[in-house]
């Protein structure tokens, strides 16, 4: 229904604009012809059917297109033609009555002309206002520091303001006619955005801002935020998009720096804490160890010399034993300290943890030209773990994998994370890098505390990782890969198995 209405309105609109687009003489000719045709019809149809009302169509059209005076002249001409036709049909009408009819007709025509002229005046006023606001829009678009562009449905740029040209480093006017999609970098985010835009057409999709990267003229990328709305014609149909672009490259850069500094700080403070604990522990443990060594050496010395008193040696050996217990006590205390944050174990999916981490690290990893490939088996059983701790383990393994590939050619940097079921009662996840691999010496010492191949390394990471995994009843091991690189594998008992064993 509404479609039909729209159709009719479009037709009328087309007729009016077609007529208004002609020159004045041709308009006059059309109008006169129309009047004559109507007169002829009226004459032919005779007295029975009154066709006077048809005259209003050319009168109205003329008034709309050429103004009130032209309308009045047309009305006069129409009444003249009416006069002639009615006169010849009009048999023997009373002349006074005939005159009266003419007067009433010319009056009606004039009133219609005046009303239409008024309407036209009002309409053109609106149009002037519209033009004026259009002008303001133009000024605004040119002046604002935000990039603004309009595209049609195919993505062709139909308007782009100077700021948008500046953001992409093009000279003014160069962007017109180009397709906006060609500027999107091969970033998945922008592909999504493009899809969103196109799908949005079908539904009444809400225009949400999105972030993407656009290729500049020199090939570098600009980080931008895009706020956009649909562009619609007078009838409300979508004809394209209007987008406002904010260049956030600088902001992003600043954020990147700030984040990296924060991470460094966190790492440093963690390392300081770790080294403090290590130092205190070493100092504490050295006391009883030194005492044990002293008692022992003394005993050996006396027994060797042959001059010894059994009670003396016995006393020393007892004291030595007590010191060994003291050392054990120190370690027990430390354990309790560590255990204060009692792990919170819940049945969890290792795949979920890996997916979370990969989306968290995605940007970082891609920045280093590393491909992260996830090969996760479906329907793996849950494992009973402290999510935060296990997350730390994988974070550490992924970090090691990234750092191992610093010397690898960018095209070959790949991390493959594989999850699988191992024998039905354990879930195994391996992280494989394509770095230098492990030498025999490195592999032997890999999990020893304070052993590191990194210049800044503390040699604590893998050691703690293994402790965490063992704490969960699992295993962590490393192996070289025949095709280069190394693989670290974590194996954790699945929930069902653990329940069965309890």
């Amino acid at each position: 229904m509404s479609n039909n209405k729209r159709h009719l309105a479009t037709m009328i609109h087309n007729i009016i604009s077609h007529f208004a687009g002609r020159s004045l003489p041709s308009r006059v000719a059309y109008t006169f012809a129309a009047l004559v045709v109507i007169g002829a019809l009226d004459f032919v149809t005779g007295d029975e059917i009154d066709l006077e009302v048809l005259y209003l169509v050319p009168i109205a059209l003329m008034t709309w297109a050429s103004g009130r005076n032209a309308g009045l002249i047309t009305a006069l001409a129409a009444s003249g033609i009416w006069w002639i036709t009615d006169r010849y049909i009009g048999h023997d009408t009373f002349p006074f009555y005939f005159l009266w009819s003419w007067i009433s007709i010319i009056t009606t025509f004039s009133i219609v002309v005046i009303i239409i002229a008024k309407l036209k005046e009002a309409q053109s006023k609106t149009q002037t206002a519209l033009h004026r606001s259009e002008g303001r829009y133009q000024t605004l678009v040119t002046a604002v520091p935000y990039g603004i562009y309009e595209t049609d449905l195919s993505g062709k740029i139909t308007l782009a303001n100077p700021a948008f040209h500046r953001i992409l480093r093009y000279s003014e006017g160069e962007l017109y006619g180009k397709r906006i999609f060609d500027f999107l970098s091969a970033d998945t985010g922008s592909e999504l955005a493009t899809n969103d835009l196109l799908h949005g057409l079908d539904s009444q999709f809400n225009s949400t801002p999105y972030f993407t990267k656009l290729k500049k003229k020199d090939g570098t990328l600009a980080d931008i935020q895009v706020d956009w709305v649909y562009k619609r014609n007078e009838l409300g149909a979508v004809t394209g998009f209007i987008s406002v672009v904010t260049d956030i490259t600088q902001r992003k850069h600043a954020e990147d720096i700030a984040r990296r500094q924060r991470e460094k700080l966190e790492l440093t403070s963690r390392l300081i804490a770790a080294s403090e604990i290590a130092s205190t522990l070493a100092h504490e443990l050295n006391q009883p160890l030194a005492a044990i060594a002293n008692y022992n050496s003394g005993c050996v010395r006396r027994l060797r010399s042959g001059k010894w008193d059994p009670d003396d040696v016995l006393g020393a050996m007892e004291k030595s034993g007590a010191q060994a217990e003291r050392a054990g006590e120190i370690i027990r205390r430390l354990r309790e300290l560590v255990r204060k944050g009692e792990p919170n174990r819940t049945p969890s999916s290792l795949n979920d943890i890996i997916l979370e981490l990969s989306s968290m690290l995605k940007i970082e990893i891609e920045k280093e030209d590393i491909k992260l490939i996830l090969d996760l088996a479906a329907d793996l059983p849950y494992v009973l773990i402290d999510r935060v701790l296990i997350q730390q383990v994988f974070l550490n393994l992924l970090k090691n994998a990234r750092e191992a590939m610093e010397q690898t050619v960018p095209g070959l940097r790949k991390i493959i994370v594989l999850s699988a079921l191992n024998g039905g009662n354990a879930v195994e996840v391996s992280v494989r890098d394509h770095g230098q691999g492990l030498t025999e010496e490195v592999r032997e010492n890999l999990f020893s505390p304070f052993f590191s191949t990194k210049p800044q390394g503390m040699g604590i990471g893998l050691n703690i990782c293994r402790s965490i995994i063992e704490f969960h009843g699992g295993r962590l091991w490393a192996a070289g890969h025949p095709e280069g690189g190394s693989t670290f594998t974590v194996s954790l008992p699945s929930v069902n198995h653990e329940h069965a064993s309890i």
Binding site: S279, A282, H283, N286, Q287, P288, L289, A290, A291, I292, A293, N294, Y295, S297, G298, C299, R301, R302, S305, A316, K319, S320, A322, Q323, R326
Partner: protein
């Protein structure tokens, strides 16, 4: 080593009771005389430093640390050799201890042989220092017997001046200079000018060392 052991005493200052006791046991097993103290204050109060020996001091102690104890001893002019024991490789602390004149430092837990070697060295050094100290004391007592004029003459002799010049400088007769000179040789118990010069040079070197806490 065992020859010295009979007389020399090893003083151990450490706040950890077990360590103190075990070290005493170890050293006594090696026939040393050992005295132990649980803190620097006790040690300073009860030790006379007259007996020959050496010190084994823990570098980290509550109240007065090993380093502070060392400084106090330096100020008092006590030159008994010091071996520092560090709990956990506290290299910067140990380095400054050695700079301040400690013989060496050793990290807990240590190898018995290394410790005994260090102690042996310390005792040898102590013996040498004491011997030098005794000599110095002897020189001082001899110097004390000289009169003011004799000291003046001795200074000149040591400076290598001939008798005539000395007489001229002090405004006395050459004969008188000769008399003073033989008195000096007598009192200082030397037979030649060379010996006298040696003696005075030794004394000056020791004084210099003292002043600069070397």
């Amino acid at each position: 080593m065992n020859m010295q052991a009979s007389e020399q005493t090893i003083y151990v200052v450490d706040d950890d009771e077990a360590f103190r006791d075990s070290l005493q046991w170890l050293l006594e097993s090696n026939d040393f005389q050992v005295k132990v103290f649980s803190c620097a204050k006790d040690f300073l109060e009860s030790c006379s430093f007259e007996k020959p020996g050496c010190l084994v001091i823990d570098i980290r102690m509550p109240e007065m640390t090993g380093l502070e104890l060392q400084q106090t001893l330096n100020k008092k002019g006590i030159r008994t050799p010091v071996i520092f024991v560090t709990g956990h490789g506290d290299i910067p602390m140990a380095v400054s201890a050695v700079k301040n004149g400690a013989l060496d430092f050793i990290e807990k837990p240590f190898n018995e042989t290394v410790m005994l070697e260090l102690i042996g060295n310390a005792l040898v050094l102590d013996a040498k220092l004491r011997e030098a100290g005794e000599q110095r004391a002897a020189i001082y007592s001899r110097l004390a017997k000289l009169t003011a004029r004799e000291l003046e003459v001795m200074d000149c002799v040591v400076a290598g001046k001939p008798n005539k010049l000395i007489a001229n400088q002090l405004g006395i007769a050459v004969k008188t200079v000769e008399a003073h000179r033989s008195k000096v040789m007598d009192k200082m118990k030397v037979n030649s000018v060379a010996e006298l010069v040696q003696l005075v040079a030794d004394k000056r070197l020791e004084d210099f060392k003292d002043e600069n806490q070397l």
